[in-house]
Symmetry: C2
Subunit: 339 residues, 2 copies
């Protein structure tokens, strides 16, 4: 099943979307918002699935043509947004660039930070930034939405609480990260509002690409119209989504509608070293920081700049037949104008 | 005006509470939940104020006797919970205990972490913990609730967005903090669900105790029925609430219902050194970590244990006439039982 949210009001309006992303239908008789649906998922999901089947079969008379520009992130806001960093190649590169070893424990104990969930950006909304000096970067990731998760669940139990999958642009201000992390309290000011793919899907929509709690497909990133990365999201994800959800719930309950992210999708090169840019025959990257780190390691300095006002990033994922699964995050960076 | 939330459903039901905390009235014709009220504060607050005036004047026919045990935290969940650490005496002590200097920048750049807002505890709800080995601690603090705050506001502008004030118990798992902070991504697992005072109030309710964006009254903490602390919340708060809100909004919007906390209330002793326990004539502390740090500095080791299953903490604030302003957070620690 594929779901989305029309961009109206603070929580938008839930719609069911056809598998090929061309048609959609409102479902006010079942749930007005996705938050409402996820809070009562076990009883509402089967009813939404029926609408989805009818929509795909052309039997929904009230269906309309889907306009991606009218969609918000599936959850326009969330009470819990926690982002892991499960692709340790990314973590290793960051540390290597500054000459630091990666602790052995990182292979068994996931990195995860708490993000602000009060005002996500729409998938095609401008990224407002105060200054280019903040080092504006995108991070292409995958995320899951859970229902209510009890405290201290095992990964096996957590798997059953993963209800929906989507993509994320975890916007990061690289220039603010060193200062924030040095203070010890996390990224805070360095992580402004994230945006999510226009469509979220139940794991079964991914077919056999959803296995071991991971998405085994490449994530496609374009920067200003040129392919920037197409790393495989499956093989190098060291912690699965069930492991990440269990990590988030270790000492507390997660409320329905919690979002847990994978961290920047990243592959090492075939030789185990830092992966190559697309232009050099590699799979590329899902964030600018990574190519800058590779440049620093190879050449001694970073050459690719961070995003400038007017730059555009596009993040999407295609199935093996080339069909877009989640629609595209497609955002331009603009200078913040006080209102 | 004083407001509270009846503990029913995920978001509870908003009630207006009399100044003396004895009577209350439902206001479904104005707003069903506090979240709803704060999202439309400018138009709804005047209507709630009218109910409040009538309630205090004994003119609300539908008023009922207030039972504190039936209240949830004013916002049972929030899309944005950010906690500062504005009492630098607390920060200095933590660092002194481990032999680290406090960076000079801490006096001008607030510490703040992002917390999980999906499932706060009720003010009298048990604190479920997995293990006493996690170093279970309370942190008595003050917090404010904002309406929508634009990005990059000045502290002067932020002041106008502070709509409500309340108390917090920022439950902390001290045993997990060093490991989490060493990973660099913030407290995460070390900060389970917080709880808030049963009543929240508009700043004008504090009279001249609300000035310079701070609450100039002592915070009273009892541990297992004995007074543990009564530090003054005003003088040693290095960053005011408007400064903390502006810090939180530096690179992003805050959505209505955002909660920003002060950090653990803490006073140095009259000589500028670590404050004394209540039993030794001092004002005591708002968390166990602080007395343990003072013990370590004075005696070489910490003697006071962290909370054990069955221990109870009570956090409240009285006005200069001895009247409780916010009601009491009063919670027992219990061992988590898988459900």
């Amino acid at each position: 099943m594929k779901l989305a949210t029309l961009n109206k009001g603070r929580d938008g309006e839930l719609i069911v979307v056809s598998r090929d992303l061309t048609r959609a239908v409102r479902v006010p008789g079942i749930a007005v918002t996705l938050q409402q649906a996820i809070e009562d998922w076990d009883s509402l999901a089967p009813r939404l699935e029926k609408v989805y089947a009818a929509l795909n079969g052309g039997q929904e008379d009230d269906a309309f043509n889907l306009d991606m520009a009218k969609l918000h992130s599936p959850l326009p806001r969330s009470y819990h947004w926690a982002d892991g960093s499960a692709y340790l190649n990314h973590v290793q590169l960051v540390r290597q660039a500054r000459g630091a070893e990666m602790p052995e424990t990182f292979w068994s104990d996931p990195l995860m930070y708490q993000g602000g969930g009060d005002q996500f950006l729409a998938p095609t909304e401008d990224i407002e930034a105060i200054s280019e000096d903040h080092g504006i970067d995108f991070e292409g990731e995958i995320a899951v939405i859970t229902d209510d998760v009890p405290m201290a669940v095992t990964p096996e139990q957590a798997a059953g609480h993963i209800k929906l999958v989507m993509l994320v642009n975890d916007v990061s201000l690289r220039g603010l990260i060193p200062g924030e992390l040095a203070k010890g309290f996390g990224f805070f000011q360095a992580k402004p509002a994230s945006s999510f793919s226009p469509i979220c899907v139940t794991p079964d929509e991914l077919g056999d690409a959803w296995r071991d709690g991971k998405v085994h497909l490449p994530l496609t990133v374009h920067l200003n119209g040129e392919k920037f990365g197409e790393p495989e999201a499956g093989p190098d994800m060291i912690f699965s989504f069930p492991q990440l959800v269990a990590h988030a719930a270790k000492t507390r309950y997660l409320g329905a509608g919690a979002i847990v992210g994978s961290g920047t999708v990243s592959n090492p090169g075939p030789d185990g070293g830092p992966g190559k840019p697309v232009a050099d025959g590699g799979v590329g990257y899902s964030c600018l920081a990574e190519v800058r780190m590779v440049e620093k390691i190879l050449h001694g300095d970073s050459r690719t700049p961070f995003m400038r006002f007017g730059d555009r990033v596009r993040i999407e994922m295609f199935d093996r037949q080339g069909q877009s699964i989640f629609g595209a995050i497609d955002q331009q960076v603009v200078k913040y104008q006080p209102k």
